[in-house]
Amino acid sequence: MPINLLHRHVLEDHISGFETNANPNHLSVIRRPVIFSVLAHAGYEAAVAEALHNADDIASRYCSPSEFLAVSQTRGAGSVAEFLTAIPGASFVNQSDGFVLMAISGPSVRAILSKCLAVDLHPDTFGEGHSAAMMCCHVAANVARTGRNTFELLVPRSFAGSVFDELMEAGSAHALTRGFAD
């Protein structure tokens, strides 16, 4: 049973001030996402990936051939756990408290992220629905493309403040705004 540390979000101190309206380039922090780490047993890798891909309201994030993150912004932890239990050959653990989920969107999103990532984000090589583990602002993060100009980042909780500050600095030239997605 994870200790619920999310009553006060880890980025609460970083998001304060008077800006209330989001600019076209916006970084939104999702308050209480449900995040499960899923490991596929040997021989079940493809079946587990397929089951996660077809799940309703659960986004599957690719980490390695046998490791995935299941992310949901709408379903509760109990419901996701129930779904994962039904997948044969999968082990999972609730990591909701261990990760921070941020969504960055806007016309300049690639220019902003190119200051933080050393990976080619052109749609031809990193298309919609693609996700991978990579270094973001010197932190091992999971980056996913959810739309043409929308990306989602999963960052370990203890590094989220540093990544958030670097993202805001990278986005300052593009008038990046930030806020909780409520």
Partner: protein, 93 residues
């Protein structure tokens, strides 16, 4: 040093995401092998100039062990494979 490594699971990545362990060419001897053979496996390494096989760990990516076939003089990378595939191929030979 080769600056871009194409991980078979993650795609082309900068070398900063990896940690290098060492030569992949030495084969682990049988447990009952002679002390001299074990000494050679554990301590004695060639220091070649040119093409080398090395274990690289993709720390900030898929966290898998890879075997990188590269030239330490020209920095050219000839191929990258998962360490489990490397062992399988080597076992067959």
């Amino acid at each position: 040093m080769a600056s871009l490594i194409t991980c078979p699971h993650c795609g082309t990545r900068p070398k900063e995401e990896f940690s290098i362990r060492g030569a992949a060419a030495p084969k682990r001897p049988a447990p009952a092998a002679k002390d001299e053979v074990w000494h050679r496996y554990v301590y004695v390494r060639d220091n070649p100039k040119g093409r080398v096989l090395e274990y690289w760990h993709h720390v900030a990516g898929c966290r898998r062990w890879l075997v990188v076939d590269r030239d330490n003089f020209t920095h050219e990378v000839f191929g990258v494979m998962d360490a489990s595939d490397f062992e399988r191929v080597r076992g067959v030979e």
